[in-house]
Symmetry: C2
Subunit: 213 residues, 2 copies
DNA sequence: CTTCAACTTGACCATACGGTCAGGAAAAGA
DNA sequence: TCTTTTCCTGACCGTATGGTCAAGTTGAAG
């Protein structure tokens, strides 16, 4: 893909305009949806955050739903990518350890995306129900088999693989979804050092919890 | 308190009418706020769910915000009550075990409340920020000390008490907040037996994770 | 330069929402 | 019974929101 990787916004070739504005809008939308929820978000506010007139949003995204759907799909992409980190590992320490690292990094780098995802699922997954029933279900089945293999090989304790996955999701996403609570209790955002401690704590507790260390 | 514990809705003494209708509205509101979020919820829908005319809601609760605030406060009460289960325990196995049981039970019995709470925190705790800074912070400090005591007494591994608390909150609340996802992967609601397994799995993984078993 | 398609945007519209209110019904008190 | 207080509710209102549109501007193609 011969992408110019244009960081600034000068030349603006026809094709780039579209990509640039779509990205700008999606970024603003993710933030606003995360902060206000789908119902509380307004196209006007998203437009203001993006620095574009509202009518321009509707040129690129016909409806609020369509824009929201794109945001959620983007998050799912990131999620799936992180999910790969679990594969090709010789055992649970490496596989689950890498997965925790990847998911903690998402919580740190994309807290808004995580919140939008959480909100979507909490409200009954109105737009990504099909993904849950296909992609996520398949991915989960594969990972359950992987974990069961590690158990059968004596590399970890005989825990229920599904509940382990839930624990992994819960523990890692909590640092994004409940970030405000954590920051309040911490009297400020987590520092670089505190993030390392958080990662290490989660990894240690879970890996020991499944008898892998 | 000489409360008649009136389950049906017959006699309707003056005082009971108020209590009954407020409870009815709060119940409906919790459900609607959980399903649609604050911004997506409408007074009309809450009224329909409660089976009352919309104007009647405004007789008992002046504004949507006031109603929402009451719902969130109710949830916080339940949360605080469950929090007591951790005290007066001889060690982490009993204390944390009981706390996990209590919180899992809340996820099962009050999933809507849990979702409203999660949503509130995700959106920056606009109405319960003061609770986070006072009640929750104090409670957390106390529990951190309690856990540190267990660590110092050699009853569990030297984990960071704060991250343990976050793990407890995350793991248990996940079964309510992401219940829809779990039910989709489970091809249906968790059965009585599956709930027992969930509880046991969470408890086992975490207790072993902190070196208490 | 001309033409055409892609992009931009201020002004506008219909609707849905939170909230109000006046007038009536039903208890409680005297 | 009469009076007072609480409760109930259909009809109404101002506003904010998602979405439309028509008239423009800008970049590409010939």
């Amino acid at each position: 893909m011969p992408e110019p990787a244009n960081q600034a916004l000068r030349p603006a070739r026809r094709n780039e305009i579209r990509q640039q504005n779509e990205a700008l809008i999606l970024q603003a939308a993710e933030k606003v949806f995360a902060e206000a929820g789908f119902g509380g978000a307004t196209m006007q506010l998203i437009a203001d955050v993006a620095g574009l007139p509202k009518a321009n949003l509707h040129y690129y995204f016909a409806t609020k739903e369509e824009l929201y759907r794109k945001v959620v799909q983007n998050i799912f992409e990131i999620w799936l990518h992180a999910a790969e980190s679990m594969d090709n590992a010789p055992g649970p320490v490496e596989g689950i350890g890498a997965y925790i690292d990847a998911k903690m990094e998402i919580s740190r780098r994309h807290p808004d995306g995580s919140k939008v995802w959480a909100s979507e699922v909490m409200h009954g997954a109105p737009v990504i129900q099909d993904y849950l029933e296909t992609t996520l279900r398949d991915w989960t089945a594969g990972r359950v088999a992987l974990i069961q293999g590690w158990i059968d090989a004596g590399q970890m304790a005989a825990v229920d693989p599904r509940h382990l996955l839930y624990l992994l999701w819960a523990a890692t996403q909590h640092y994004a979804d409940f970030g405000h609570q954590i920051e309040t209790l911490n009297a400020g955002p987590l520092t670089e050092r505190q993030w390392r401690e958080a990662k290490a704590s989660v990894k240690m507790m879970i890996l020991r919890g499944i008898g892998a260390v």
